[in-house]
Every structure is written in structure tokens, then in C-alpha cells.
């Protein structure tokens, strides 16, 4: 098949902008990034379906010149799934706002603590620091 | 002034639905009409809403006059506003003009508001249904005189609407009369 350049580039643009937003910390921003990427992958299915044709609705006996219906069905599924995602992520954004007055995703506190310990060489939690038994101290 | 009973109104609504259904399918067949009627009936039963048609009486000729005059207004005003957009000068000043309507029937108030809105250059900012006050934002009205002219236009439109649709063309009937 000969690829459609405009659509292929548009896929790239939507992914590029989507990624840019996705990497932000705000839940709504990430969601908007995901929506852009979702549009991108939907258009990717258009690229994959080949040349544009007429709507795949059988009117006579002639089905030539119709566009490929299978990617369309898949995109439809993807669209609906994306809607579910939108609703759910927004509910999470709302909940996050309720809890913290912000929809910013903060770093995992436990990981931050480990990084702190690593940087401070804090081995206080190791079983092998400090004076222990020399060799064999029986009770 | 009860023109129809409860059942009658449901059937009337369902008939309207059947018309829409036929228009949607695009061909008039018994099956379509019956299906449209039954489905519409289903809808009005499942989603009951208060009656709409109280105080309405359609006068076809007056209605035609209303529509034609409205079409004229829309086209004229559309061209005018488009010209305002393209012409090099700054757009003219605008005003918020409140008019005291005759009718207290909110259906007719709404129709007046709708038609005023559809005519370019005016936009409903507020309707106080009980007081019958309609406030419009109007483009190209810069003086109190122009404002007064505008009020007159609004009332003229209201009269045309009432003449075409209202059971009591003087608009004295509200919607409160039922049950």
C-alpha cells in the first residue's frame, strides 16, 4: 500500500504533543495528553486501512471503492474505551483535588525516602552495621 | 382552559413523535407510522413531562406571515452584521435593552426570545418570566432613541407571535392554569 503522508505526519504530531502533556505532573494535563495520543492512534488506524473510500454501507451489489470496515470497528471500540478512561481519570482528578486541593501527582514517598537514605549513606536499617558479635558468641 | 385531557396530550405528543419518526426514515409507510407512534408513546410514558400546548392555537396564515417576516429579518441582519465584521472601522457601540412584554406565557416569551436571538444583532441576556421582562444585548444601538425603537420592534414581534400561535392573542393566559 502507498502510505498517506499527511495522516502519517498528523499521527506523529498528535503523539508528540500528547507525550509532551503526558510527561507533566497534573492529572488533567496527562489525561489531555492521552486524549491526543488516542486521536493519534485512531488516525493511525486510518493510515492502516489504506486508501479512503466510500462509507462501508452496502447499497447495491457493488462493494468496490469502500473503505476498509475492520479498522473502523476497532477504532470505534477504542473511542468508547477512551471515553471510559476520560470519565475515570477525571473522577480521580476530582478526588485528588478533594484530598489535596491539587491534581498534581507527587513522587512516591517511600521511593523518595530510599533515595534520601541512599544519598545520605544511611544504613541504619541494615542488620550488618555497628559492632556485632565477633566470632560466635553463644548465648 | 383545558383543551385536552392527560391521555389526549400523550397521544398528541406521540403523534408529533410519529411525524418526526417518518421524517427521519424519509418514507411514509404504515409500518413507519405505527412504529413511530408506538415508540413515541413509549417515550412519553417513560419520560413524562408537563404539557406544552396549553394556550396554543395555530393560525396558519398568521404563522406564514411570521415566518416570512422572520426570514427577511434574518437575512437582512445577517448581511448587516457580516458587513460590520469585514468593514475596516471599529464595530459600533451596543446596549442592553429591557422590554416589558405583554404575555406572561413562558412558551411565547421563549419563542419571542428565540426569534430575537436568531436575528443577528440581538441576544437574550435575561428573561424574567413572571414579570414578562426580556433583556437583550443589541448591537449597533448607541442612543436611547435607538433603544426605544428596539423596544417597539420587540413588541411588534411579540404581537406577530401571539397572533400566529396564541389562543388568546392578547397574551393574557399564562401557563399556571392546569389541574
Amino acid at each position: 500500500m502507498t502510505p498517506n503522508l499527511v495522516l502519517a505526519v498528523l499521527v506523529g504530531v498528535l503523539f508528540a504533543t500528547g507525550v509532551y502533556l503526558l510527561l507533566a505532573r497534573s492529572i488533567t494535563r496527562a489525561l489531555i495528553g492521552l486524549l491526543l495520543m488516542g486521536n493519534g492512534s485512531n488516525i493511525l488506524f486510518l493510515v492502516a486501512s489504506g486508501r479512503a473510500g466510500r462509507a462501508p454501507i452496502v447499497t447495491g451489489h457493488d462493494s468496490s471503492g469502500m473503505s476498509d470496515p475492520l479498522p473502523q470497528a476497532m477504532v470505534l471500540t477504542a473511542i468508547v474505551i477512551t471515553l471510559g478512561m476520560t470519565a475515570f481519570l477525571l473522577a480521580m482528578a476530582h478526588r485528588s483535588w478533594q484530598l489535596e486541593r491539587s491534581d498534581v501527582v507527587r513522587d512516591d514517598p517511600e521511593d523518595v525516602e530510599i533515595l534520601r537514605r541512599a544519598e545520605a549513606d544511611d544504613l541504619s536499617d541494615s542488620d550488618f552495621v555497628g559492632d556485632d558479635l565477633d566470632e560466635g558468641t553463644a548465648p | 382552559m383545558r383543551r385536552h385531557g392527560w391521555l389526549g396530550r400523550q397521544v398528541l405528543g406521540a403523534l408529533g413523535g410519529a411525524v418526526v419518526w417518518v421524517l427521519l426514515w424519509g418514507n411514509v409507510s404504515v409500518a413507519n407510522v405505527v412504529a413511530g407512534f408506538l415508540l413515541s408513546l413509549l417515550i412519553v410514558v417513560v419520560f413524562p413531562l408537563p404539557p406544552l400546548t396549553v394556550g396554543v392555537r395555530v393560525r396558519p396564515l398568521r404563522l406564514l406571515r411570521l415566518v416570512v417576516r422572520f426570514a427577511y429579518d434574518v437575512i437582512r441582519a445577517s448581511l448587516h452584521v457580516s458587513w460590520l465584521a469585514f468593514r475596516p472601522q471599529r464595530p459600533p457601540r451596543s446596549s442592553v435593552v429591557t422590554t416589558q412584554l405583554t404575555t406572561r406565557n413562558q412558551l411565547f416569551q421563549t419563542i419571542v426570545g428565540e426569534m430575537l436571538s436568531l436575528v443577528p444583532g440581538s441576544l437574550v441576556v435575561d428573561i424574567d418570566g413572571e414579570a414578562g421582562l426580556i433583556s437583550l444585548h443589541v448591537l449597533d444601538v448607541g442612543t436611547p432613541a435607538q433603544a426605544a425603537q428596539h423596544r417597539a420592534d420587540v413588541l411588534a414581534l411579540e404581537q406577530r407571535v401571539l397572533a400566529a400561535l396564541a389562543a388568546d392573542p392578547l397574551g393574557r393566559i399564562g401557563t399556571e392554569v392546569d389541574e
Binding site: T2, P3, F15, Y20, S63, L70, V104, E135 | L52, T175
Partner: protein, 943 residues
């Protein structure tokens, strides 16, 4: 043999119950299985020594070449006697040693009995993997037994140390086993030894096996775990850490030696490590004050000795090795038991404290002295016989380095004599006030007496022992000088060396104070214990550094990493020999270019927006643009759905965003702006590249060419996409419905967080229902059913009237889309969204009360009904003998109406419709009404 093993397992299983019932005396019953093992070995003696090893094999896991293979030959026979006999003795000893109120005694008893079983399994296994299996079981049981007094930190760290060290060696051994087994094509020990493979791989394997043996038998550099393990209760020390478990390594070496002792590295490694360990252990034993530790270092030393003997790989050395193995088991177990009694009797094991026990505990002291004499190598005890044979072996060996080995052995034996003497002196001599003594329990004395007697009897009858064990040593060819066991071989050089040993040892004992001071003064620069701790510390450290470095817990970084991999890996592969298109077309129609341009601009500004709603509206424009592109591609169904979804999304966004600050705040920063932009551009470029290259290679005809005909003939519809959704790929759609269902559930669960919120919503719904029953809106006043959800000043006459005018039409339109969808653009999804937006209109016009009145059911009911309808369709078709989700077309002729085609997939589509309406209702209930409620409550609180 498997029966004996099972008996151990069963005994271990009931041990806690027995202990609960009988207290410490339960150990007497638990001693039965190991005793039975020893008896069994004794009974089988004749057969085994006639060259008929007892073999049992049961298939287990063919896929791993793992079979329950057991084989008892001479070496096994000897080991079974040791582990069974001493096991029984130690268990009996326990019956006298512990008190009934010892905490966790039941678990201890179970572990110890299980250990006896594991040891039995280890020495009887004829499958290398089985051997490893029992090997590790002994490790774990040892861990639990050492940690018996687990509140004490030394106990815990000793247990962990033993576990880590021996498992490390064990794992090396496992790799060795697998290398060997895969190379040999079998894991059966007897088969491998019958025809041992050779080669560099085998050498590696053997070295790995030796690592296992070295760790288990506590040889340098892993010797340190054994003295620490003395934290365990004394019976454990006696059994695991003297007689049995630490012998596992010796056993392994002895087992493999006939096949592999001439593998390069075998002798150098084993003799060096063994010799060094013998010296180091002996030397260290000389400075210990704790009798148990003294014995532990002595064990280390003796294990080195044994390793040298069994690792040498000659007939003479093997004979000496087996003899000493037995001797060590007898005397060392005895000594530990004696120490245990002393400890209980006096409350101390410190030889600086103990005094006069020779008189106050004569039987115990007698046993101790005999056993120590055997350890020191004095006649007529078995220890003497073994040591004599060892001297003999190396005196007459022509192998290179034998002299050095001999020197080491003599030196080691001198040390052994010295610490043996120090033990006897320290434990039993009278040096000052006599220690107070509690009389030991009779059961505790059985063991020491039997073991001490054993050292004497077997020593005296050592020639008889030789006939029993020689079938093992005869696996090697006879060489120049034949060595035999016996108390008297005449005046031989070996006897001279024995005399030298006694003299040297006595001298060393005489200067014991100096030796102690010397040891204290010379710091051991290569302290293995310390290096173990340093290693573990750096492990802990490394784990922190690696984890802190790689696990940042930052969402942007996590995502960035994934996307970087996308760019580098699939993206990188684009640079390597991918088929690029020879030609591209710019577009199918210029309109695509136009729309693409608008989408591009909108996408760009979306990315740059700092205002939430600006971004939302702009992303909506990319969505509408996408809808246009769908349309231009001949996909009206997609376009319709996309347009609806965009509207719904915007509404949902606004419902939520009304509560959030207007601007995005991305503090604290994650990834810098330029990095994000760069990564975005790279990902975009990769996606474009992938799109171009993947499309260009298509030569096959898509499967969907047959869809049009199939859709009409079998699917009964002309809209192929819809037929695909509700019929050809209905299974996807069913799955997608569950996604919708669960998203709706999730939204509700994040908003209605507490049962009482749910209850309140349910009560409100019920109230509305009863109100509506009393006063149906069809007879009502106003324009809507219950529009008081909106404050009066915010109500809009125009909006309410138009909603009243349009709503029924919207509902009708949604039914039209539902029913015409099979032949025209539409279908359950778009229909459901349309009705949902109709409900949205009602909600916006009249607030939550209007929404409840518009559709007074719970969203769950709609979702559930839809799901049951859609999934149930497939159950029904299955039940009627069709394939899941198969559809039938019914052609009916109804008078007046004409022909009606009813496709059963319509029911499926109705299911879809209900679920989507349920989703919309759920969203409005949760993100609309419930949040309205919260806002109201908050403002009531503040005012």
C-alpha cells in the same frame, strides 16, 4: 527407604501435638524413626557389603529428570548409621534436656525430627537433584533450629548467616549439578559415577559442587558460620553442627571422589582448603573460653581434616576418611551432649568458671574424657585408629605434595590434642571452689554414655570396621602400600608421629596462657566473619543505591523511561534496514490536508495551554478534526460516535474542572520542558516512521474483503461497521461494554466514597420515585419534571422550554439510531450517548432533582441489565447449540406492516444501549449531582 523418610515426615507432623500432650517425653517417641533408620541400616549390612546396594526408584518429574531415587551402598550405610543413630540418641537426650515449659518446644521437636529425615534423605539419594533438595531442606531447618531462641539478636543473626552462607554455596552447587547432569545426560549419581564425564564444563561443575560442600562443611573461607551457629540449643549443635549436617559436605566429597578426584582442581582445592581449615580451627579453639565454642572450632578443624582425607582420592585415604568420619561423629556428638549437661547442671559453659565437675558429675566427666581422648587421638579409641590410618596414608603416598599434607595433618593433630586437653581441663578439673551442680536427668545421660562407649568399642573392633567399610575404599585401585585399621601395627613411623602429636599437644597445652595472649595480640587481618558482614553491608548499601537511583517514584520519569525505550528500541530499529516506501501520496483528498492543518494547530496550542479549559476545548477541536478525518475516510459511524464523545467529554470535563484551579500547576517539576518537547518530537517522529514503513509493506489482501457480502447475508445488515460491532466482532464489543461498566463503577466509587453517601443518593431516588407516583410530571405545572435542582435565580425560562421541546425528540432520535444502526450510521453506542446527552440537557436545565425525575432508576440497574442482556445473548446461543453470540435472522410477515426482519443481534445492541445510558447516568449522578451536593454542603459549612 522412602518408608523411613515418610515416617520422619509423619513424626515431624505430629510432633507439636505430641509435645503438647506428653511434654518433653514426646522426644522419646520421636526418636523412633531415626532409630528405625539406624536399625534398618544395621539389618541391611550384610546385603550391602556383599555388593548389593539397596535401590528404590519412583518416577516424579520426568521433565526435570528428577526422580525419587534412593540407593544405599557402603558409604550411605555408614552415613545412615551416623545420622540415624546419633539422631535417635540426640532426640532421647532432648527428652532429658528440655523442660516442659520450654517455649515453642513443639515446633522445635518437629523441626529436629524433620531434620533427621532430611539428613536421611540426603545420604540415601541417588539423584543429584534429590540430594540438593534434601541439602537445602537441612539448611532451612538448621536456620529455624538455630533461631529457636529468636528474641536474642545473636541467635537471629547466626541463623541468617548460616542460611545465607550455606544457601549461597548450595546454589553454586545446584548450578554445578545441573551442568553435570545436563552434560552427563542423567542426574542419577550411580550412573554418573559409573561413567563420569570430563571436560572444562565438568571441571566447572565439579568446582561449583565443591563450593557447596565447602560452605556446608564450614571450610575456609566460609568456616565462620559454624561457631556462630552455637547460638542454637545444644542438642542442635550436637546433631546438626557436629555429627550430621556439617558432614553433608564431607559426604558429598566422599561420594563424588571415586568419579572426580582426578578432575583438575579437585585435589588442589580440597587439600588446600581442608588443610588450612584444620590448622585455623585448631588454633582458634585454643583461645575459646566457652566450651561450646571450643568444640565448634574443633569441629571446624576436624572437618578440614576429613576433607583432606576424603578429597585425596586414594584407597588408603578413603579408608582413613570413613573411619575418622565415624569417629568424629561419635566423639563430637558426645562432647556436645556433655557440654549441654554441664551447662544445665551449672548454668555456665565458661571454662574459667567451671570447676570440680570431674568429681561432682563423674559419669558425665567419664564420658567427656573418653570422647576427648578419642578426639585427641589416643588409643584405644576410634579417633586414634583414624588418625593413625591418615598418617600411614600420607607417609606412604607418592602423590606430589603428600609430605606437605602430612606436615599439616600432624600440626593440626597437635593442635587438636592441645584443645582436647584444654577441654578436659577446663570442664572437669578442680581449680578453686567447686561449681554448684544440679543433677542431670537420666535421659540426658543415655546419649553420652552410648557414644563414649561407641568410641571405645569401635576403636577396639576397628579391624571389623575395616571389613565393613572397605567396599567403599576399594572403589580405588590398590596402590603400593596397603593401609589397614587397627590399634597396633607395630612400631611404625606413623606411631612415631602419633607420639610426636601427643608430645607437641601436651607442650602446647602447657603454654596455653601464652597461646591465648598471642592470639589476642595478633589481630586476624583476614577475619572471615568481618568480611561476611562487610559483604552484606555493601549488599544493603548497593540495594539502596540501585533502588534510589532507578526507582524514583516519579510518574513523569517512569513514563519518560518507557517512552525513551520506545524511541531507542523500536525507533532505533527504523534506522536499520527497514523498507521505506518508494512513493507516498500526500492525501486521498486535499480536504484531509486542510483538516490535518487545523488539528495540528489545535494540538500544538493544546500542549502549550496553561489554562485547563483552554486545553480542554482545544483537545476537543482535535477530536472534532479527527471526526472529520474519519468522515473523509468513509467512516460516518466513527465520525458520529466521535462527535458525540467529544460533546460528552467536554461536559464531563467541565463538571470536574469546575472544582479545580483554572491553571495547571505542575509543581514540583518532573521533567524539564525542553526534555519533554524533545522526547515528544522523537516519539512523534518514530510513530510517523512506523506508520509509513508498516503501511508500505502490505501486500496481503485484508481479511475484511469478505465483510460486505457476509454482513448482508449472514449479519442481516447493510452497515458493515455496525454488523461488525454487534455480530462479526461482537465479542470485542461485549468486552468493551464491561470496560464501560467498570469505568462507571469506578467513577461512582471515587465520588460516593462512603456507604452513607450511597444511601443518601438511594433515598433521594426513592423519594423522587414516590413523589412522581403521587404527582406525575405529565400532569404537572412548569416545563420540566422537577427543575428545583437549580437555584431560582439561575433558572432559565428559555432553556427549560427548549429542553421540554427537544427532549422527547432526542429520545426518539436515539431510538432511531438504535434501530437503524444495522443499515445506516448509528447503533447502540451512538444511540446511548444521544440519550445520555438528552439526560445531560435535563440535568443542566433542572439540576439533580430533574435528573432523578428524568430517569428514576439507579445507574447500576441499567448497567447490569445491559451487561446481562449482551453477555446473556451469548449464553443463550450457547445453550441452544450455537456458537457464542451467534445471531439469527427472523423473517416475519406481519399483516399491515409487511415484512419485518428481526436480527437477534439487535438484542445485543440494546444491551450496548443500556450500558452506555447507564454510564452517562452514572457520570451525571456522580460528577454532576453528587458534586453539586458536596458544593452545597461546603458552602453551608462556610456560611
Amino acid at each position: 527407604m522412602i518408608a523411613l523418610l515418610l515416617a520422619h515426615v509423619a513424626a515431624a507432623g505430629v510432633a507439636p501435638a505430641l509435645v503438647r500432650r506428653w511434654g518433653r517425653r514426646a522426644f522419646l517417641a520421636l526418636a523412633v524413626p531415626p532409630a528405625a533408620a539406624a536399625v534398618w541400616a544395621a539389618v541391611s549390612t550384610a546385603a550391602i557389603h556383599d555388593g548389593h546396594p539397596v535401590v528404590e526408584r519412583y518416577r516424579w518429574i520426568d521433565g526435570l529428570h528428577l526422580e525419587l531415587g534412593f540407593r544405599a551402598d557402603t558409604l550411605t550405610w555408614l552415613m545412615v548409621l551416623v545420622v540415624g543413630g546419633i539422631g535417635a540418641i540426640v532426640l532421647v537426650y532432648c527428652a532429658g534436656y528440655f523442660s516442659d515449659d520450654e517455649p515453642l518446644l513443639g515446633r522445635f521437636a518437629a523441626n529436629l525430627t524433620a531434620f533427621a529425615g532430611a539428613m536421611l534423605g540426603l545420604v540415601t539419594s541417588d539423584d543429584l537433584l534429590m540430594l540438593y533438595l534434601f541439602w537445602e531442606v537441612t539448611t532451612v531447618l538448621s536456620y529455624l533450629l538455630i533461631g529457636h531462641t529468636s528474641e536474642l539478636r545473636p541467635s537471629r543473626s547466626a541463623a541468617t548467616q548460616a542460611l545465607v552462607v550455606t544457601t549461597a554455596g548450595g546454589l553454586a552447587m545446584l548450578v554445578g549439578i545441573v551442568l553435570l547432569g545436563e552434560r552427563a545426560g542423567t542426574y542419577q549419581l550411580s550412573e554418573i559415577l559409573a561413567d563420569p564425564p570430563r571436560g572444562p564444563l565438568v571441571t566447572t561443575a565439579v568446582v561449583l559442587l565443591i563450593v557447596g560442600a565447602v560452605t556446608k562443611s564450614a571450610l575456609i573461607p566460609f568456616h565462620f558460620w559454624l561457631p556462630s551457629a552455637m547460638a542454637a540449643p545444644t542438642p542442635v549443635s550436637a546433631y546438626l553442627h557436629a555429627a550430621a549436617m556439617v558432614k553433608a559436605g564431607i559426604y558429598l566429597v566422599a561420594r563424588l571422589a571415586p568419579g572426580f578426584s582426578d578432575v583438575p582442581l579437585w585435589r588442589p582445592v580440597l587439600l588446600t582448603l581442608g588443610g588450612a581449615t584444620m590448622l585455623l580451627g585448631g588454633w582458634r579453639a585454643l583461645r575459646q573460653h566457652d566450651l561450646k565454642l571450643l568444640l565448634a572450632f574443633g569441629t571446624v578443624s576436624q572437618l578440614g581434616f576429613l576433607t583432606v582425607l576424603v578429597g585425596t582420592g586414594s584407597r588408603a585415604a578413603a579408608l582413613a576418611g570413613t573411619t575418622l568420619l565415624l569417629a568424629h561423629a561419635l566423639f563430637k556428638a558426645c562432647l556436645f551432649l556433655v557440654v549441654g549437661i554441664v551447662d544445665h547442671a551449672t548454668g555456665s559453659r565458661d571454662l574459667r568458671v567451671l570447676s570440680g565437675l570431674g568429681r561432682s558429675l563423674p559419669v558425665v566427666a567419664g564420658c567427656g574424657v573418653l570422647a576427648a581422648a578419642s578426639m585427641a587421638g589416643l588409643p584405644p579409641l576410634l579417633g586414634f585408629v583414624g588418625k593413625e590410618a591418615a598418617y600411614e596414608t600420607f607417609l606412604h603416598s607418592s602423590a606430589p605434595g603428600s609430605t606437605w599434607v602430612l606436615v599439616v595433618l600432624v600440626a593440626g593433630s597437635i593442635l587438636t590434642f592441645a584443645y582436647s586437653a584444654r577441654f578436659v581441663w577446663g570442664a572437669f578439673a578442680e581449680r578453686g571452689p567447686r561449681s554448684r551442680v544440679v543433677r542431670p536427668d537420666a535421659y540426658a545421660l543415655v546419649g553420652p554414655v552410648l557414644l563414649a562407649a561407641g568410641s571405645v568399642v569401635v576403636g577396639v573392633l576397628s579391624t571389623r570396621l575395616e571389613t565393613l567399610t572397605s567396599s567403599y575404599s576399594r572403589l580405588w585401585p590398590a596402590d603400593g602400600h596397603a593401609v589397614h585399621l587397627g590399634l597396633w601395627h607395630g612400631v611404625t613411623p606413623a606411631l612415631g608421629l602419633s607420639a610426636l602429636t601427643v608430645l607437641g599437644g601436651a607442650g602446647l597445652f602447657a603454654v596455653r596462657g601464652g597461646v591465648e595472649r598471642l592470639q589476642a595480640a595478633v589481630p586476624t587481618s583476614l577475619d572471615a566473619q568481618r568480611s561476611y558482614r562487610a559483604t552484606m553491608r555493601s549488599l544493603d548499601r548497593a540495594s539502596l543505591e540501585v533502588t534510589g537511583g532507578l526507582q524514583r517514584g516519579s510518574l513523569p520519569l517512569t513514563l519518560g523511561l518507557i517512552l525513551s525505550v520506545l524511541v531507542i528500541v523500536p525507533g532505533g530499529s527504523l534506522l536499520l534496514g527497514v523498507t521505506w516506501p518508494d512513493e507516498v501520496r500526500w492525501w486521498d483528498t486535499p480536504a484531509q490536508g486542510i483538516v490535518a492543518l487545523v488539528v495540528l494547530v489545535a494540538a500544538y496550542w493544546t500542549a502549550r495551554s496553561r489554562r485547563r479549559l483552554r486545553a480542554v476545548i482545544l483537545v476537543g477541536i482535535t477530536g472534532y478534526g479527527t471526526a472529520m478525518l474519519f468522515l473523509l475516510h468513509g467512516a460516518p459511524d466513527l465520525a458520529l460516535t466521535q462527535v458525540l464523545v467529544e460533546t460528552v467529554s467536554l461536559v464531563v470535563f467541565v463538571l470536574v474542572v469546575r472544582r479545580l484551579p483554572q491553571r495547571f500547576s505542575d509543581t514540583p517539576p518532573g521533567i524539564g520542558r525542553w526534555a519533554r518537547a524533545t522526547l515528544g518530537l522523537l516519539v512523534g517522529a518514530v510513530m510517523t516512521g512506523l506508520a509509513l514503513t508498516a503501511t508500505t509493506v502490505r501486500e496481503a489482501i485484508p481479511v475484511s474483503v469478505d465483510f460486505p457480502r457476509a454482513a448482508v447475508e449472514f449479519g442481516g445488515g447493510r452497515n458493515i461497521v455496525n454488523v461488525t460491532l454487534v455480530d462479526i466482532r461482537a465479542w470485542d464489543t461485549m468486552g468493551e461494554l464491561s470496560v464501560v461498566l467498570v469505568s462507571a463503577t469506578g467513577v461512582a466509587s471515587l465520588v460516593f466514597l462512603r456507604q452513607r453517601f450511597v444511601d443518601r443518593a438511594r433515598q433521594a431516588l426513592e423519594r423522587t420515585r414516590s413523589e412522581m407516583a403521587e404527582r406525575p410530571p405529565g400532569r404537572g405545572v412548569g416545563w420540566l419534571a422537577r427543575p428545583m435542582g437549580v437555584a431560582s435565580e439561575r433558572r432559565s425560562v428559555m432553556f427549560e422550554v427548549v429542553t421540554r421541546l427537544v427532549f422527547h425528540t432526542v429520545a426518539l432520535w436515539s431510538l432511531f439510531l438504535l434501530f437503524s444502526g444495522h443499515n445506516n450510521p448509528g447503533g447502540g453506542f451512538s444511540a446511548g450517548l444521544v440519550l445520555g446527552l438528552g439526560l445531560t440537557m435535563r440535568y443542566l436545565a433542572g439540576g439533580r432533582s430533574e435528573l432523578r425525575a428524568a430517569l428514576p432508576v439507579s445507574p447500576g440497574a441499567l448497567l447490569g441489565a445491559g451487561m446481562v442482556l449482551a453477555a446473556g445473548t451469548s449464553l443463550v446461543t450457547l445453550a441452544f447449540g450455537g456458537e457464542a453470540l451467534q445471531s439469527w435472522i427472523f423473517h416475519l410477515h406481519v399483516p399491515l406492516l409487511g415484512d419485518v426482519h428481526l436480527v437477534t443481534s439487535l438484542f445485543f445492541d440494546i444491551g450496548v444501549y443500556l450500558v452506555v445510558v447507564g454510564l452517562m447516568l452514572d457520570i451525571l449522578r456522580s460528577l454532576g449531582s453528587a458534586i453539586d451536593d458536596q458544593i452545597e454542603q461546603e458552602s453551608e459549612l462556610t456560611s
